[in-house]
Chain length 592, copies 2
């Protein structure tokens, strides 16, 4: 491999952060000349960035091949019809890039390719003997994110590995899923960042079980929980165990009370403890039933109000709500919406008034009413009286009101019990690096993927779908390894193994640097030679910004036969003799 | 490398040609399970096809890297603005896939990336010291072809290598251009098909000199010419040398003659030779001046009529015309157009009537009038009299009429002289595999790419642009190597080096086939083992359809210690001993 000369390399480091940089990886990848923004959420790869990207791709490709997955490649520009069959053409809503060709035909830019893989297998295979089968592709994908952010972490054009398994039954799917899970563990280990595997919601993908691989990152977009006993889930997937029902035979009848000026849960609770104290204990915020109104916007354009009732000491978690109502979007109820529903008294909404239901599909408002799992039969609540400045106490679930169903979308808090009894939950943040789904038969049914089983009967194929964000992984590795000096790549992903820097213009320094670079290159290392006419200070700074794991500095020590070996990540400097430096660097790069 | 088992490989061969297959490569790539159509001009790559594609990519990447080009990757989804600056947003017309994002912003799917590369270099570089520079990418491109055809040969989503050179002056550009030209020669040689390098028109790319690398193919879309003396050009780029002007002092004055029933050039010439014979020789078809009316449709929607005058024994070549008027499109003049221009007498259009001009921007029709280079000063013509059933003879160019200019769009014929005097032209057909352009400063000027020159002054950078169709190359190699039995890959591009086929179910055949496959694989070859439960005939047929260069058949000869080595392309069969077969195959694959 030839030595790359820094003076020829298409790269420029920037002194200043890009204006839109929100996270360190974005800042440094741009400042170090790895990527450039072409449009919001759309990036170009410069030579250094592309080299890292190729290494991530290769790791993923190797681990996919190791589990017998075969590589294919589908187009990014796709016809509408298959996505119409699975309703995703509509359900993806504004997240889908749609376009028309010159003949007016409808096309989309593929966000994921379940439909295309399903149809391809249907085209080629027809017998149980052909299965199991796993296919994958590494390909450019498109999603018109409402808020592209953080550089490569949430882009609109991005590179993914997506794979799909095809089995005869759920036992086969379990096996394919487990193989993928193990392959993903190997990929994440090789990428080298801290990660957790959490239970997840399937969202628009459909299907049953799914897990996410989250890279732990304090500024990650995703929140997850874990317990001392090993429970882990993203916050959308956490479930609350319903408490046992309560005997309400001694609970007094509901009473409406005047609560002027009780603008917060706390002031309300104080007021009620004064005028209508409970017999057993004081009223708390957890005894208030807060009823929050949303407008659901369905992908087909239909709107529908929804009221969520939950303990007043918790808020609705918007991400949990969105996961629960997907593919609909939940928007805050606007003034105009209240005006259109005069039975809703803003700030004093409750499930009943004068012994009659106010909320629920069967009630006069007709609005669907779903409650938190904690609102079990027999629990007594303090809630709105559907009358300005009035609340009602001792409104008992099941006795005085019923809901249309349960919705588990209240915020999860540190200290909440894990649903499996494994202890109190801790909250942390992460970035989704991989997602594995047991799809089941959703796509195979929608698109008619059936094969003959052992009895000669047509059976619907069972599928799994598995994704890893390749371009996102580049950013995430940068994010978790960079420091205040710049990027600091792990050896497995660095664009070059070593940069050789003559710390001066003297010919003997330049010659010795060239010799070392050539020998390292001859040994098979990827070598960058810093041959620019620049001050040693600029060269050192840039080498740290670029994040090359090892730097060999040829400076004044050369007079004594010594050069310096610097480790970018550990920030160590060792003096090494010119005879030993090549062997030393090779050992550093290849491992002891 | 592990042995691939045919029973596990995601492939199925088809007995029948796909309905839309127009050319052998398309037919066989689909029948052999290398590609599948996803939409018109949009294809999915199956495992075997993707392997060949990767090999072509790698050849191109190696030759680009060898000339110092650095690899980058731009997005396919691009913002409108840069393409607006160069007018290509409009000029590409319906060939461009355009779309809007969720905020209504205009985007396109990149057909080529001149604008993006120009802006990137402008972003990073600012001095003559940074140049020369060559960048390339291997990337998916989009063009909404009116008539996608021939499978991968003319697709709407396709893979290209595009590269761009940046130099300070035209001398530098010449050097970069020549380096690319040599690299392309190496690529074409390694791909292994017959090709010619021809002078070309630049079309919508702009710029000055350009050459095409055409793969010679009888059913190619492009026509090119070549002469015994080495002239070669695609038909759009052929120029006709204007003959010397003629002394018309003895030519009689023009005369209108009645020509009823002269519906063809031949009957017209016969009639005129009767009633108005020439003094020097007989009138021929080459003496008639045919005036053909077109409607030019400009990308901005404007329409403009154009009349082309040319010798009546030749037709207008539509491709040459389109190249000449690009980015406008030339459409045949419709009846409604004639109705709107009553001065044009259909079938009898001529440049003059009663001594007054009828055609030309200054004439009563106001229609632009361009003539073939053969219509030189002093030539006498037989042409329409602008009166039904009447023609005019001895209408002399320069004396009796003038045109607005010259247009060189008449059909080129075998036997026409090469413009450089190198002999008579031969016509042949080919497929454009590569195109190299000396762009000059068009893009740098439009987008403001200037750097400081040696005198500290801002100078506009000079660019070249160079493309190779990667997916098209896969098809073209298939096209030129396949036969009536299927694909027949050259060794450098084959998805597998060898297929090992047990010709029977007997355990000893299967065991020996496995042993040979394992040994070949151990030696580093890519090996396919035909382990399906199928008849020997089916296996042999499929092996030929797939086009694996070497097949080792383990059959009845095994009793005598012999197996068969078959060469797919040469159609030879050799009996080889089981001890020698591995060495023999390795030698076949790696070359003598």
């Amino acid at each position: 491999m030839a030595v790359t000369h820094m003076s020829q390399l298409f790269v420029r480091t920037l002194r200043d952060d890009p204006a839109d940089a929100e996270v360190p990886s974005h800042r440094w990848l741009v400042r170090a000349g790895y990527i450039r923004r072409a449009a919001p959420g759309i990036y170009s790869w410069l030579p250094l960035g592309l080299k890292v990207l190729a290494k991530v791709e290769q790791i993923v490709r190797e681990e996919m091949t190791a589990i017998g997955a075969q590589e294919v490649r589908f187009p990014a520009l796709l016809p509408r019809e298959p996505y119409e069959s699975t309703h995703r053409w509509t359900e993806y809503g504004p997240n889908l890039f749609r376009l028309k060709d010159r003949k007016g035909g409808d096309y989309l830019l593929g966000p994921t390719h379940e439909e295309m893989f399903t149809l391809m297998v249907k085209d080629l295979y027809n017998s149980y003997k052909d299965l199991p089968l796993t296919l994958f592709q590494i390909q450019t994908k498109y999603r018109d994110e409402a808020r592209p952010r953080a550089g490569l972490l949430r882009g609109r054009e991005f590179i993914m590995k997506d794979s799909y398994s095809f089995d005869m039954d759920s036992e086969g799917l379990q096996k394919s899923y487990e193989m993928h899970r193990q392959a993903y563990i190997k990929v994440m280990d090789r990428l080298g960042f801290e990660y957790v595997i959490v239970k997840a919601q399937s969202g628009a993908m459909g299907g049953s079980a799914s897990e996410e691989f989250l890279a732990v990152a304090p500024n990650g977009e995703d929140t997850f929980v874990r317990s001392p006993g090993g429970y882990a889930a993203n916050v959308e997937a956490v479930t609350v165990n319903a408490p046992a029902s309560v005997d309400a035979s001694n609970t007094p009848a509901p009473t409406v009370i005047h609560t002027p000026g009780a603008g917060t849960i706390d002031t309300l609770v104080d007021a009620v403890n004064d005028v209508a104290p409970r017999a057993d204990r004081a009223w708390t915020g957890a005894d208030t039933l807060k009823n929050v109104v949303f407008m659901l916007q369905h992908p087909d354009g239909k709107k529908e109000p929804l009221i969520v009732g939950l303990p007043g000491d918790r808020d609705v978690d918007v991400k949990r709500l969105e996961a629960a109502v997907s593919p609909a979007e939940a928007i805050a109820f606007a003034e105009a919406d209240f005006a259109a529903h005069p039975l809703l008294v803003k700030g004093y909404i409750g499930p009943a008034k004068d012994g009659e239901a106010v909320l629920g599909t069967e009630s006069p408002t007709g609005i669907r009413y779903l409650v938190d799992p904690r609102v079990v039969e027999g629990t007594a609540w303090l809630t709105g009286a559907n009358l300005a400045d009035h609340h009602i106490v001792n409104l008992v679930a099941g006795r005085d009101f019923t809901a249309d169903g349960v919705i588990d979308v209240a915020e999860v808090r540190a200290g909440d019990p894990a649903p499996d009894g494994s202890g109190p939950l801790e909250l942390a943040r992460g970035v989704e690096m991989g997602h594995i789904f047991q799809l089941g038969t959703k796509y195979a049914e929608a698109l008619g993927l059936k094969v003959l089983d052992q009895n000669g009967k047509l059976a619907t194929v069972t599928m799994g779908s598995y994704g890893i964000g390749i371009s996102r992984a580049v950013a995430m590795v940068a994010e978790t390894t960079c420091d205040e000096r710049g990027l600091a790549w792990p050896r497995t992903l660095a664009p070059y193994d070593v940069i050789v820097i003559p710390a001066g213009k003297e010919q003997e320094l330049v010659d010795e640097a060239s010799r070392i670079a050539l020998e390292l290159s001859g040994a098979g290392l990827e070598v960058l030679l810093e041959d620019r006419k620049a001050s040693p200070g600029v060269k050192f700074t840039d080498a740290e910004v670029l994040g090359i794991p090892t730097a060999v500095v040829v400076g004044r020590g050369l007079a004594n036969g010594l050069v310096e070996v610097r480790d970018r990540t550990a920030q160590t400097k060792d003096e090494v003799s010119t005879e030993d430096v090549v062997a030393r660097v090779i050992q550093d790069v290849r491992g002891a």
